[in-house]
Amino acid sequence: MTTGVPSNIAVHCAGVTKTYTTETTTVPALRGIDIDVKFGELLMLVGPSGCGKTTLISVIAGILDHDSGECLVFNRDLKHMPDKDRTKFRGENIGFVFQAYNLIHTLTAQENVAIPLLIRGVVFDEALKKAAEVLQRVGLGERLTSLPSELSGGQQQRVAIARALVHEPKLIVCDEPTAALDHDTGQKIMGLFREVAIGENRALIIVTHDSRIFPFADRIAKLDDGKIIAVATAKEFLNGNQHL
């Protein structure tokens, strides 16, 4: 293992590249990404559609192998881990929030939230109990037995956030968490994120191209065409440094 990574760094990427090859084309989606994500911070990856944001968090979350460069998560190299270990690593350390929520539509809110615990082998009743606590924290203590279809978009995304938190992962990745929500609900969801998800021993990476939620970031990394073209604090970013 590389030893040069300081202990306050959750994710370390250096020179990460990824090229998609299909029968007809090759698309260089990442062309040398250098970025560190610290424990305790909320980093936003922003940039136009198709610039490689989803590809980058897929690599960081251990869902996709990069071609070259180094990507360490908690100082572990996921690329060279056997698939089985990597799956286990994700289950223990990473929480996911998806744009389309991906709540299982036949399960109640409580059951959906319990899933990461069930995957880790926690017994059903205990998992449900813990799920109820977390749903309480995201303000859905009254809707434990509701099905996703009975909840609004904002409420569904809260369930998804609860699901990403329930097993207390050290890294949470979110792909466009507010893309399907209206402005007000998006703001509320981001407020909730800051309130319940940020912690000393946790890093948050949120992918978005919704500039209205930029103020909720600690730092913002701007991607374009597979490269990080600027990294700044949210304040710097919003204080007119729009050329960044």
Binding site: T87, F89, G91, L118, I119, D175
Partner: protein, 384 residues
């Protein structure tokens, strides 16, 4: 996660019921078609089934199946009796003779002549009268289907009356008196069946040099049946087969030389293919619909083994419930068709085979669909 898998399945009520209906329909078609096929094939050797006593059947070497009669000389009976290990050996006549009904109409009948002393080979299931009544002068036993059908008496007013004990027939200008009515297995031969004694059958049959159709043999206790058959064959030069072998021979003959099994075989095959396609398609769709969820589960740390177990549980639940109802429907069909001419047989082996087939189809279809999840593409996980 098994509980989650079941909830995923059952929670989607319309799809769940749809899948069960699909599997049900397929199971029904598969079971029903192959039951009819089995039934048809069983009919070919119905006569052998109806004669459970003999261990070995002895016949002309050129005989290929039960209705293929190539008569032997009467002296062959004595030669068979002389073979070591034979407990008893009796003659059997089987042949088509013309019966003249009371209204003067002729009807071809399958006449069976049983050993006068033992009556071996007689029908086991008597509806009226007793087998022993055959010993009465001119006595014959008629099968119930024939008695109600082609041998029924036509009354002067044109109505039909079932042939009954005491009624007479003419076989080859000789009088025969009905002394019993029997229920026998249906066979491929649609003619009415008439049982009588061997010596009386000799009288009914046109004069020929050879009239002995089969020699029926019982093995002495402790003698291996297949060994005995081999001994008889080598010592007499006749063909000697065990009852099981004879059934097999008969089925194989029909499989090889008639179109009936092929036509039905195609039905079975179609049932299987259609069933497989439907079940496979249904499961494929179900898993594809849930691919997003399975992708998310895998991203959240569910192992391939866990996902596989979930899907297999879903497949088995749908497979078994659908199968149960489907086979239930097939049994109902069986019940309804019992009294008809339809051949239908549903032995346990067939149920085991079709249950396994349906389950395997479900599982394979599900596994086939989930390979995508095993690869875990971000496109699935982060799909918008």
């Amino acid at each position: 996660m098994i509980r989650i898998a079941l909830k995923m399945l059952v929670g989607d009520r319309p799809k769940y019921i749809g899948m069960i209906l699909g599997v049900m329909f397929s199971s029904f078609v598969i079971t029903q078609q192959s039951s009819i096929f089995t039934g048809i094939m069983t009919r070919t050797f119905g006569f052998i089934n109806d004669s459970p006593l003999p261990d070995v059947w002895v016949m002309d070497p050129k005989v290929q199946y039960i209705d293929d009669i190539k008569p032997l000389q009467d002296t062959q009976l004595l030669r068979v009796r002389g073979v070591d290990g034979v407990e008893w050996a009796t003659p059997l006549y089987k042949g088509l003779l013309k019966a003249r009904l009371s209204n003067g109409v002729f009807q071809n009948c399958n006449v069976i002549g049983l050993d006068d002393a033992s009556l071996v080979g007689g029908p086991g299931n008597m509806i009226k009268g007793k087998l022993e009544d055959l010993r009465r002068a001119d006595g014959v036993i008629v099968d119930i289907v024939g008695a109600q059908g082609r041998l029924a008496k036509i009354l002067p007013d044109g109505s039909r009356q079932t042939l009954d004990i005491g009624d007479t027939l003419e076989l080859n200008d000789r009088r025969a008196i009905v002394v019993g009515i029997a229920s026998i297995s249906r066979t491929f031969q649609s003619q009415p069946v008439i049982y009588t004694t061997y010596s009386r059958a000799m009288n009914f049959a046109p004069r020929e040099r050879k009239l002995l159709s089969f020699v029926l043999v019982k093995a002495k206790p402790g003698v291996a049946i297949s060994d005995l058959a081999r001994n008889i064959q080598s010592q007499t030069g006749l063909k000697a087969v065990t009852a099981e072998e004879f059934k097999h021979m008969t089925v194989m003959y029909f499989l090889k030389y008639t179109g009936i099994p092929i036509n039905f075989g195609i039905g079975v095959l179609l049932g299987f293919l259609v069933g497989t396609a439907i079940v496979g398609q249904i499961f494929h769709n179900f898993t594809l619909d849930n691919l997003r969820y399975f992708g998310a589960l895998k991203a959240m740390g569910a192992s391939n083994g866990t996902l596989l177990r979930m899907i297999i549980v879903q497949a088995i639940v749908v497979g078994l419930i659908g199968y149960g109802i489907g086979v239930g429907a097939a049994s109902m069909f069986y019940h309804v068709s019992k009294k008809s001419e339809l051949a239908f047989r549903m032995p346990a082996e067939l149920l085991i085979v079709s249950a396994t087939a349906v389950t395997v189809i479900c599982v394979i279809a599900a596994i086939f669909s989930i390979r995508k999840v095993f690869k875990l593409e971000p496109a699935i996980v982060f799909k918008s």
